[in-house]
């Protein structure tokens, strides 16, 4: 095959320049700084610093609070992704039966998407307020001794609930359009070939939605990793005792509140590495399986 050869000229570079500039200023430069800082030990006032090689990383990896946060992040992310995907798939399948073709409906169902994470956090906060929160009262009136301020499991439940609630609408929309993208005649052919609706779902509908599901898995894990920052900051603030602090939230707490810039930079570098590995894994091993 012959490759198209473009004349060398400055114009294409000019076109991509703004984007490159934005990426450099807001991503590459801070990232480079974080890497640099992760090798420094700085005093609390930022007056002096010292190059310490990997000592920050050793400290981070051996600290129990970081390990705890890492475990929490993994559990939290997997639960948020799995629950919100499963729930929204269920809702989308039910909705698809009713609203095939009704587009206005679909747009209205999408509004939840417009809610910013901190707002979702705030709403959750109100519902779980010990003085006036309806959900708080409801749980306690059922006989659970629900107290997310002191109980780590209850607090985890609260952040997962808010994070899932916020994300379900996005997933729902993608699943719904995925479902509506399956040709009607394919589904009809399946009703002639297979009597059980459940079997049809697992053998036809679900495999045909696999690319959507994969895409949502990536989106949801990213969301649970990074975007839930706002939810956590507004609702639990990582309490009790860091039990609901994701790695991202911990970077913020240690760096900006604890003023441990070196340690927090080391944490963010570790986070970057983890996310890169996860991304490569997703695309190398899962994506290949889901496309038909």
């Amino acid at each position: 095959m012959k490759r198209v050869q473009f004349e060398h000229s400055a114009v294409p570079y000019l076109f991509v320049a703004p984007q490159i500039l934005i990426i450099s200023i807001f991503f590459l430069w801070p990232a480079a700084q974080a890497v640099y800082q992760s090798f420094l030990l700085e005093d609390a006032f930022g007056m002096s610093s010292q190059f310490v090689w990997f000592r920050n990383f050793e400290d981070v990896l051996s600290s129990s609070s970081w390990t705890r946060s890492a475990v929490f992040t993994v559990v939290f992310s997997v639960l948020v992704a799995v629950i919100s995907i499963t729930l929204s798939l269920f809702l989308a399948v039910r909705a698809d039966e009713v609203i095939r073709g009704a587009k206005s409906y679909r747009t209205m169902l999408m509004w939840g998407y417009a809610i910013a994470p901190p707002v979702a956090g705030l709403l959750g906060n109100m519902m779980f307020n010990p003085l006036m929160g309806d959900l708080y009262k409801a749980f306690n009136s059922f006989g659970f001794e629900f107290n997310h301020i002191q109980n780590a499991n209850d607090a985890t439940f609260v952040v997962i609930l808010i994070a899932v609630w916020k994300q379900v609408s996005v997933n729902f929309i993608f699943f719904l359009s995925g479902l509506q993208g399956i040709p009607k005649s394919v589904q009809e052919a399946a009703t002639l070939d297979c009597k059980s609706a459940e079997r049809r779902f697992w053998t036809i509908t679900f495999p045909l939605l696999a690319p959507t599901t994969f895409f949502l898995l990536v989106i949801n894990l990213t969301y649970a990793f990074f975007e839930t920052f706002g939810i956590i900051d507004v609702s639990t603030k990582g309490s009790p005792g860091g039990a609901t602090a994701t790695l991202v939230y911990k970077v913020y707490v240690d760096g900006f509140i604890g003023a441990d810039l070196g340690g927090s930079s080391a944490q963010s570098v570790l986070l970057m590495i983890m996310v890169s590995v996860l991304t490569v894994f997703q695309f190398r091993f899962i994506e290949r399986k889901v496309h038909y």
Partner: protein, 356 residues
Amino acid sequence: MATVTLKQAEKTYPNGYKAIHGIDLAIQDGEFTVLVGPSGCGKSTLLRMIAGLESISDGEISIDDKVVNKVAPADRDIAMVFQNYALYPHMNNYDNMAYGLRNRGYSKADIDSKVREAARILQLEDHLERKPRQLSGGQRQRVAMGRAIVRQPKVFLFDEPLSNLDAKLRVDMRLEIKNLQQRLGVTSVYVTHDQVEAMTLADRLIVMNGGVAEQIGTPIDIYEKPATKFVAGFIGSPAMNFLAGKISGDCKHVTIGEGVRLDLDHDVSADQTVTVGIRPEHLSIAADGQGQINAAVRMVESLGAETLVYLDFGTDANNVTLRLQGTQQFVKGEKLSLTIPADKIHLFDVETGKRI
């Protein structure tokens, strides 16, 4: 194998639109029935009612004397071939054909032999491992056919299965479908709006219009004795010529244009106004210039094997089409004298459109 019976079958869609207005039909065992009609006349709706993809609003549909109104599509023992093939895109062609059998609990060995047999008949043996998207349109069509025949159903249903193929392939597949159906002897219902497909495939043809069956009969019957003006105009290409006429006082003649009297081969009640129909292929040029009507050439289309001449008769422009064998030359405006055989004249009631 099976018979299919419809008794006053009706379909009203949820939006209130009545697509099928009471159709009675008895399809014999092994018969190839073709539904033909203009777009929107309810052909697909009727087929889908037999398949169970649309509910039956009123009346009854039975397969082999068993009323299937409430039977799930998968339990009706029918197989359907869709216009856009409707293959499962994530399965290879083998699995596409095997899917229905697996769900019906056939053994692995059984499935394998059935699928391989179907693949052999349809010359798909080399493509079984591929996904549908790796096949050409014609090959996909074969896989869809294969998916239908492996199940050995009681009834085949086809909804315009060839309309996405190019002209040459369509002819090949048409013959293939006919062969296959005769070999397997499976009762079939086939929807098309292609005249040639309808005429060549059908043991029995059903011409539909606006949700009713206008005429049911063998293709030749329908061609020779169309029951209504609609059927007469729909079946046959180019379409039948229609002219306004009036029956004479002696019941033996019809007058068209400016006082042209044509003989009739049967008596018709006197003095009524009628529509006179003559097929383009039944008109011929009178060699001696002594034909019954004279018309001026407006346009000529040469198709090689035949020539279509569009003529102006009387005061109307382009109202008569003449179909001649072979290639012939005409000059625009040239007057032709045409012969109309009495036994080829069709008469229709002006009001009801019914054959007289």
